[in-house]
Point group: C2
Chain length 424, copies 2
């Protein structure tokens, strides 16, 4: 089955807003084996709106529209679709009472304009909206299905799940989409592509998408089939082959974020962590504490921009800073050791670098970063140079630090065997 | 003039990608007084693509399309538009030589498929693309103008500015869009709306959009006119009236972020700052250090989740934590004083609170936050409760802290006069 998505609302034709409902709707439709062949965004204008629905009805069996169901004169979806299908709008008393009730609950009287929201095209099924005043509508005509949904995502998403999905499933072919998302750190998009292309091209029925996100590469595997066991096995096979090709660079097999993965590893190992950051300015601490319950493994951190604070808070010897420079592997290591000792955590992370745009030199250009992980048995340090602007460099530095923590536990504190590491 | 935007590419009909070029294009077209009446996203399918261009040509005088100009068989924009206009595709030798030259520079031979990119519909003007291999095209037919641009934003944006804009300006009416963005902190969307609605409704020719962003409300004013002096005066007038209505709640009149505003204020005042954070987990430090050059005013910060570290790093008396609780105005104040003393900064910020989802109690529910600003002459403290999830609460807490720094300097360290503060 093919579908089109129509987003209604003049605000989405301004430079400030974008239709994001269609991403959710596409994912949901794809899961059912329904292909989205076109998305349209139309303003609150009867002619343009009518054209959009008319064209879509000519082409596809399913139209999902969002927005334009509000109470004001701008909201034209109901009227336009009714006109187009030659249906009359009739007052639905149940809806009217529901809307009046909502207003009563808020201690207010229903404004007269809201009566519009109770007008329903003849023959339409009402999709209840417990989260807002605009009900949705489901129409069938000439072999076509049309779902009209409210624009706010917090109303649209549950309405889709609760009321549109069951209707589509009844129509369905039994085919489903199976999806897996792997995430890779420490490699570029083309390096990942090069290593996995010989694998995924062998699986003609799997759709593979490689996306570059800040500090990581995301690999989406999608497979449409009615056979769940086959899907599971195929995705397992590919994942296993990817693991051979990418070794320890895959940090997530279920789309979880690097923060979530590291939080999970720390909890599993009953380990605690602390951080002494310079160039990342608190970004590492902030990412570690994004996760609920992080206080069980994150003890604390310092952001020591100045040399004096590196000494005061992480016990970095002033003469070390003088001799090696604040941005050096030695200072990163001293920061890591110092913060681990002062907080008593299992691991201490030290980060120093030059995020730019100023502060670079020929010897230490912008993007130079040193990260160290101190643990009871020693320390690991990596120096590198990241490309990009200030924000990108800071993000990459925090990602490298999190990835080093992950790798530390992956090899039980030891070194990765050289031949399995695919870092490039 | 009315325009439609067509984004071409099957990847934009997946759940992973969204067309963002259209936001840039809409802003640019609006500046010229051109209204965007529809956006369409179409996959790499000749029939759907042809329908999209055909429909748009029926409706509007200007079509801007992005994508589908690559060298592979998926890339159908050139062929489809040529077909639709009844034009032949002819080989353009200049483009061919340019593409061959690009490959030579990279030390590679041009693959045969790239010849497609040198095929141009008869009568089309070539838009050069120094940043990629796909040239753009400009076509005029039956009173319609069509610009075909490459999909990657870093190729599309300069091509639009350098080659499409001058062509549109020549067609233009002399009307331009004038835009101003104000930002408001510490008030909700409906409170802002209520205060400024009586003002902006007086200016029929100004389009006012109110957007809620995390921790702030953004007000966009847009005015289309050929008279720059009139536009300037009108926008100044509205801004002035808004300032009377919203008092010190407007923190930005040029769309700059709260971080940028606070960075600017600190620099102007030769002031330095340090932070002791609990619930925000480094978010405040991270936001303050997002700005290039922040090392001149940000001395350092600590993230002290544990009570022990609150004492070790910010000198908070253990008995104070015991008697008042870690989340209390007293501890926020002690954190602020302590971090200011230990770093020697002009201002010290202390933040403590419960970001959730766990850790709340009846007396101190999730969302409870205390922020204190310590300065040479004393301290300011605010306790409040923010709604929302962990991320939202943390963001609001950091926003409140930044806003308190701003207000501190606005009133030269004194208290805001009660009647001018519009906080609600």
């Amino acid at each position: 089955m093919k579908a089109e998505i129509i987003a209604v609302g003049s605000e989405m034709l301004t430079p400030d807003r974008i239709d994001t409902n269609s991403l959710f709707l596409t994912e949901e439709l794809n899961k059912l084996g329904i292909e989205v062949v076109r998305k349209s965004i139309v303003g609150d204008n009867r002619d343009y709106l009518s054209a959009a629905f008319h064209e879509a009805l000519e082409r596809v069996e399913l139209i999902i529209a969002s927005g334009g169901l509000g109470p004001t004169e701008d909201d034209l979806t109901r009227e336009t679709v009714a006109d187009l299908l030659g249906r009359k709008l009739v007052l639905n008393n149940a809806i009217l009472q529901y809307i009046e009730g909502r207003f009563r609950q808020l201690g207010r009287e229903m404004p007269a304009v809201n009566v519009r929201q109770a007008m329903v095209p003849e023959g339409a099924e009402v999709l209840e909206n417990p989260r807002g005043s605009a009900p949705g509508l489901w129409l069938e005509a000439r072999g076509r299905r049309i779902a009209l949904l409210p624009g706010p995502p917090r109303e649209l998403k549950p309405m889709f799940h609760e009321q549109v999905l069951p209707r589509l499933e009844r129509l369905g072919s039994g085919i489903r989409m199976f999806h897996r998302e792997l995430r890779v750190a420490g490699m570029g998009e083309s390096a990942v592509e090069q290593r996995i292309k010989p694998i995924y091209t062998r699986y003609a029925d799997v759709n593979t998408t490689i996306l570059a996100a800040p500090g990581e590469i995301q690999i989406h595997l999608r497979l449409w089939t009615g056979d769940a066991a086959h899907a599971q096995k195929t995705l397992d096979d590919i994942t296993q082959s990817f693991q051979l090709a990418l070794a320890d660079r895959i940090f997530s097999q279920d789309g979880s974020s690097m923060e979530e993965v590291v939080a999970h590893i720390l909890s599993m190992n009953n380990a605690t962590i602390s951080a002494a950051e310079s160039c990342t300015g608190g970004l590492l601490a902030q990412r570690l504490t994004t996760i609920a319950g992080s206080s069980s493994y994150f003890l604390g951190g310092v952001v020591c921009y100045s040399n004096e604070l590196k000494t005061a808070w992480a016990d970095v010897p002033p003469e070390l800073i003088l001799s090696k420079g604040a941005v050096s592997s030695e200072v990163a290591i001293a920061l890591a050791h110092g913060i681990r000792r002062s907080t008593g955590s299992t691991l201490g992370v030290g980060i120093t670098g030059i995020a730019g745009p100023g502060g670079g030199s020929e010897e230490k250009p912008v993007g130079t970063v040193h990260v160290a992980i101190s643990h009871a048995a020693g320390v690991k340090e990596r120096g590198t140079r990241f490309p990009g602007d200030r924000e990108t460099i800071r993000w990459h530095a925090s990602q490298l630090a999190l990835d080093m923590v992950r790798i530390h536990f992956l090899y039980n504190g030891g070194e990765p065997p050289a031949r399995t590491s695919a870092r490039s």
